[in-house]
């Protein structure tokens, strides 16, 4: 009883924090996929760039909050550049080429980051305001920073759903996800919507990168870890579905958090098993209707 009260809630919270982090990155990925039919490998690179910018800005300014504002904006700009300079160029040559291109970009970005910062993990200090931990209830304490992650990502999530469901841009995005050609014919500026989604998605990935930096430190391999989790999330949730991505991120977060404790032998394999099982039962993902 003691363990159930003290231990499991903390695990659930851990899972929630990680799940929300994955969602920040995966949401942009699933939207770009739904619209442009590209699995954008370089999306997780943008997340990594966000984390490294956070590290760099904190070194320069000693202030986490400046990093939290500036770094995601730079990430958004990088997303725009990737779309305008690279993806647009090969768009006519088919999806496989687009995918290979983003894959090549991811390789190059990972190498450049490793070149500049080295391959050792770099610690990022937790901002002073968010140090320490809160007592949730009797002898259960939880780090303030993780609660901050939870709060921030939840508010970003609300903002995203508002944008998606209630604004003009959101309507256009949903129209393009459903049928890009038809939306184009009806007068939506599809090329602008692509750009907007790339920018917003990259901004989200940047936010994820910044807030993950003090939590797990920054290292070049964070790209590979995140891209795999994102792929699992968008495959399980259904490519192109925001709600599906949210549900899948939360599931993956819980599995990772509980798996390490309850089934340490196979914890590495658990999320892949989840993905295979979903593929076998419902090949289009939990929320995906579209092929």
């Amino acid at each position: 009883m003691e363990t159930i009260l003290n231990f499991y809630p903390v695990l659930i919270l851990h899972g929630l924090v990680y799940g929300m982090l994955i969602f920040l990155v995966a949401s942009g990925l699933t939207l770009t996929f739904g619209m442009m039919d590209i699995l954008n490998f370089s999306h997780a690179s943008v997340y990594m760039i966000g984390a490294y910018f956070c590290y760099q800005i904190i070194i320069w300014s000693q202030n986490f909050w400046i990093a939290l504002i500036i770094a995601p904006f730079i990430c958004g700009l990088i997303g725009i550049l990737i779309e305008r300079i690279f993806i647009r160029k090969v768009h006519a040559k088919g999806h496989v080429n687009e995918l290979l291109l983003t894959f090549g970009l991811a390789l190059v970005i990972a190498e450049i980051v490793e070149w500049i910062y080295g391959s050792a993990p770099l610690p990022v200090p937790t901002p002073v305001l968010l140090q320490g931990s809160w007592a949730l209830w009797a002898n259960v304490e939880y780090p303030v920073y993780r609660i901050f992650i939870l709060g921030l990502s939840a508010s970003v999530l609300c903002l995203l759903f508002y944008l998606f469901k209630r604004t003009r841009l959101g309507v256009s995005v949903r129209a393009c996800v459903q049928d890009g050609e038809m939306a184009n014919a009806l007068g939506t500026n599809v090329s602008f919507v692509y750009l907007a989604v790339m920018a917003i998605g990259s901004w989200l990935a940047g936010v994820g990168g910044v807030i993950v930096a003090p939590y797990m430190s920054v290292y070049p391999n964070m790209f590979a870890d995140m891209i795999l989790d994102c792929f699992i999330v968008i495959a399980v949730g259904g490519l192109g579905s925001l709600a599906g991505a949210l549900l899948a991120s939360l599931i993956v977060g819980q599995i990772q958090s509980f798996g390490v404790i309850l089934l340490p032998q196979i914890s590495l394999a658990l999320t892949y098993m989840l993905m295979m099982v979903v593929f076998i039962i419902k090949p289009t993902g939990l929320f995906g209707g579209k092929e």
């Binding site: 690279f86 160029k89 190059v108 590979a224 495959a235 590495l268 295979m276 593929f279």
Partner: protein
């Protein structure tokens, strides 16, 4: 005329490969063996991507299955002939391919790519955690002393570079020919048909799932063969054979060489191994240069560097025909 010229070209390549041990140092032989190994691996991938248009991110699964099975056979069943171990490795890869085929075949393009990636990662996780069988991240070693019995030469040790080189050469020529004939069979034509329009192929009455199922098995068999030979060449196996990098190596090779032509992956593996080797001597950031080359090829040479060869080849052919006429 063109056909004869092609055969002549390939015969020259094979002859050169046969003669290499007489004038090249041991280290170069090792590199060439690696080239041939990658060529088998990349050709098996060509059957998926080039012939059928199926994108897979988990080709390392079969490669690794071959490598681990062969290693386990060599360690635990010392009485088993080496060639039988190689065959066992390929067979295990075949089973893996059929398993993937059975479960993931019906998925559409990108889901399939993600599904194969998940399968390879699953095997990677197993290789990493099941220490009792696979040795975990320490990997497996200990078969350098094995010998192969040849009809006329007697038994020769497999750690002898010459023996290894010729063994891998034989297998690679065999595997490449097998794949080439596969693309010429009616099934191969069906698969090419799937690539250009799979809906129409289905309307015409083709059982596309059956065709893809066989393709998955065949491609996995060949990929696992290269994995088995890798075990013999490097003399150690670690979970690295299952990881994403191994899966993506074959993508890079196919793109550099050109994944739409049969000869592309072979050229690609040659370029990849030698570029890697010589760039790594010059700079520690060889992967950056490789990545830039990769991006430029996708952007400007989507058919790969084999295109350069093909256009040169056509020019020679045309001038020959003109001089004949």
């Amino acid at each position: 005329m063109r056909r004869n010229l092609t055969i002549l070209l390939w015969a020259t390549v094979v002859l050169l490969a046969l003669l290499c041990p007489f004038f090249l140092p041991r280290y170069q032989l090792y590199l060439l063996a690696e080239v041939m190994l990658y060529a088998i691996y990349a050709i098996s991938y060509y059957l998926l991507l080039g012939q059928t248009g199926i994108l897979s991110f988990g080709h390392a699964a079969y490669f690794g299955l071959g490598a681990y099975t062969t290693a386990l056979c060599l360690i635990h069943l010392p009485v088993m002939p080496v060639l039988a171990s190689i065959f066992a490795g390929s067979l295990c890869g075949l089973l893996g391919g059929l398993l993937v085929g059975a479960f993931l075949l019906r998925l559409s393009k990108f889901y399939l790519a993600l599904g194969t990636l998940a399968f390879a990662q699953l095997l990677w996780a197993i290789a990493w955690t099941w220490r009792g069988l696979t040795g975990g991240d320490d990997g497996l070693i200990g078969w350098a002393g094995h010998k192969i019995a040849f009809p006329f030469l007697g038994s020769l040790g497999i750690s002898n570079m010459l023996v290894l080189y010729y063994l891998i050469l034989c297998f690679s020529v065999g595997a490449i020919l097998l794949c080439w004939f596969f693309t010429r069979t009616p099934l191969g034509n069906t698969l090419a048909c799937l690539k250009s329009n799979s809906d129409r192929a289905q309307f015409l009455g083709t059982n596309i799932y059956q065709a893809k199922f066989i393709l998955f098995g065949y491609s996995a068999f060949i990929a696992a063969l290269s994995g088995s030979l890798y075990t013999l060449l490097t003399k150690m196996v670690s979970p690295k054979v299952f990881d994403m990098e191994t899966s993506f190596d074959v993508v890079v090779i196919s793109v550099i060489g050109g994944y739409t032509k049969f000869a592309g992956p072979i050229l690609g593996s040659f370029l990849y191994v030698y570029l890697r080797e010589y760039l790594a001597e010059v700079t520690a950031r060889w992967q950056l240069i490789m990545g830039i080359i990769f991006i430029s090829i996708v952007l400007y040479y989507p058919d790969g560097l084999i295109q350069l060869f093909e256009s040169g080849f056509k020019r020679i052919n045309r001038s020959l025909r003109q001089s004949n006429a």
